[in-house]
């Protein structure tokens, strides 16, 4: 009994050591946001004296910060809607119908996963420029949706496959069209899978940096990650203010994570353990 207690305690100690490596930088960020930069560099490990709230309040009352949040939300939502809609339609066809070239096209989509988006970003820029989509949110939304397609499609297809064919036959008997079945019966049934893929698409879009950096050069459409980098460039040595900015930028991500934790982790790990 005592040995077990000791083991339990040492396990907790180990987790705490590991956990402190994760938490200390985050805690440091939150606290440092309340400091002056002088305070931050002379006593990085100490508490602020005095606590200065103007870093945070200044950013919260600036239009730029809120505009970037708004842009990021708009781009994430639009990306997700487009990718989930396109992938759901295609996954339906892939899951339920036999047609010539099905395996070829599916493999083509699946192969998209092997190619990190960074590979295509330069020619994408060239292409978007010729489409006139630079400095236009669509220039980020459409490529992001395209790159999110493969995974969305694969997850949805495997979910659609679990829905029995009899259900569709019954719906067709009752006069339901193919699209009617898809829209009124299949999609509502697939809500958990749709939730998972949407959450994945939102997080990926929210954190995306390289493409928005290239495409959304002007202030107007900047997203949060690009805005952070811009802000850092602008206030290079005002470290406390820069830290306050990133802390505030963390809040939506953490909030979203706490709401959608189950879908996010489910989506990320579902496939990994199937093998």
């Amino acid at each position: 009994m005592r040995a077990a207690a000791v083991r339990g305690l040492s396990r907790h100690a180990l987790v705490w050591v590991l956990g402190s490596f994760v938490v200390v930088p985050l805690l440091y960020a939150v606290i440092s946001g309340f400091k002056t930069t002088g305070d931050l560099t002379t006593d990085p490990a100490g508490l602020p004296h005095p606590w200065k709230v103007s870093n945070y309040t200044g950013i919260l009352s600036s239009d730029t910060f809120w505009r970037q949040i708004g842009n990021s939300v708009l781009i994430a939502v639009a990306t997700t809607l487009i990718t989930v809609a396109a992938a759901a339609l295609a996954a339906f066809a892939f899951a339920r119908y036999a047609f010539r070239g099905r395996e070829f096209f599916f493999t083509l989509f699946a192969a998209g996963l092997m190619f990190p988006p960074a590979v295509a970003v330069l020619p994408l820029f060239v292409l978007l420029r010729s489409f006139g989509l630079l400095d236009n949110p669509l220039g980020v939304i459409l490529p992001q949706a395209a790159f999110a397609l493969p995974m969305t499609l694969i997850i949805l297809r495997s979910f659609f496959r679990t829905i029995p064919a009899e259900l569709e036959e019954a719906a067709v008997m009752d006069g339901c069209t193919r699209f009617g079945f898809f829209w009124r019966i299949l999609l509502p049934m697939a809500r958990p899978a749709l939730g998972t893929v949407s959450v994945l698409a939102i997080v990926t879009s929210w954190n995306n940096f390289l493409l928005p950096l290239l495409v959304l050069g002007g202030q107007k459409w900047q997203t949060i990650p690009v805005g952070i980098q811009q802000f850092q460039g602008q206030y290079a040595t005002n470290y406390a203010l820069v830290i306050a900015y990133i802390v505030l930028a963390m809040v939506p991500a953490i909030a979203f994570y706490s709401v959608a934790e189950r879908q996010l982790i489910g989506g990320l790990t579902a496939g990994a353990t199937k093998g």
Partner: protein
Amino acid sequence: MTEPLTLPAAAGDRRRTARTPRERGSRAPLGRRLRGWAATTWFLLPALLLFFLFVLIPIAVALYTSLFKWGGFGRPEDFVGLGNYRKLAADPVFRGDLWRGLLIVVLSLVVQLPIALGTAVLLNQRMRGRAVYRAVFFAPYILSEVIAGVLFGIIFLPGSGLADELVGGLPLVGGLAGKWFSDPGTALPTLFAVMTWKYFGFHMMIYLAGLQGVPAEILEAAAIDGAGPWRRFRSVTLPLLAPTLRISVFLSVIGSIQLFDLVWVTTTGGPTNSTETMAVTMFQFGFKRYQMGYASAISVAMFLISMVFSLLYQRYALRRDLEGAVTSAGGAR
């Protein structure tokens, strides 16, 4: 593939073709087959259009522009054949990128993934607050690379950052104080430390999910047979976790091929290229020096490396795990 002429007919016929959704094999009469194709096309069209326009065509464009000496404006006209690739093969920076990429992969395999595995095994046991610990370890993964990069740039400020304060006077790591990202000898290890902070929780989550598939009965049986904890881990847990481990290795390698954000925000590849990656080199040449032809060649090289690696890895390592790798790959970005 897109059959605009048959589409109106298909719309009217949809009900009839839908009656036998599973019978549309190659033996069906031609007319019905065409209608089936047309109806399916409607479902596939948006996805195919997006995928062709924004994934496949860019890759083709890069292949084309990589054959030119091109500043990025107007039409590429100065055809150089494989000249850019020859230049690339001889470029010490690009060779360095490959070497550093390999180093990051190796470090991930021997440091980051074992830490993740250890944590997963630890948190797979019943203990108080387990859910909270898991959430905490995973938290860095959901923050953007830019946030992590800016934060650690400030933590590792030489001379006045938190890291200096913490390691100052300690044996072994004390010598790092004042260097970190600013010294060519320590910049890459520092970057790797940040990567570990950011990504080990993701791998831990994958392992935790994989550990759910290790039946408790087998572990109990092994314990009854006298196997100690280490032996049980080595001979039962590890082999059963092998498919999960292979996938996590795959994601780790693909992730390091496209490593950009974290590097760009912390060091922009410096000092003296010591943290530069392929993606950073591509960005430098394409968007800072306007050598788009050369930068396209780097893109193509990245593409080829990902493709060759993926194919070989799936052929020889993943085999039956393929489906799984495919499903979670996007998540590790």
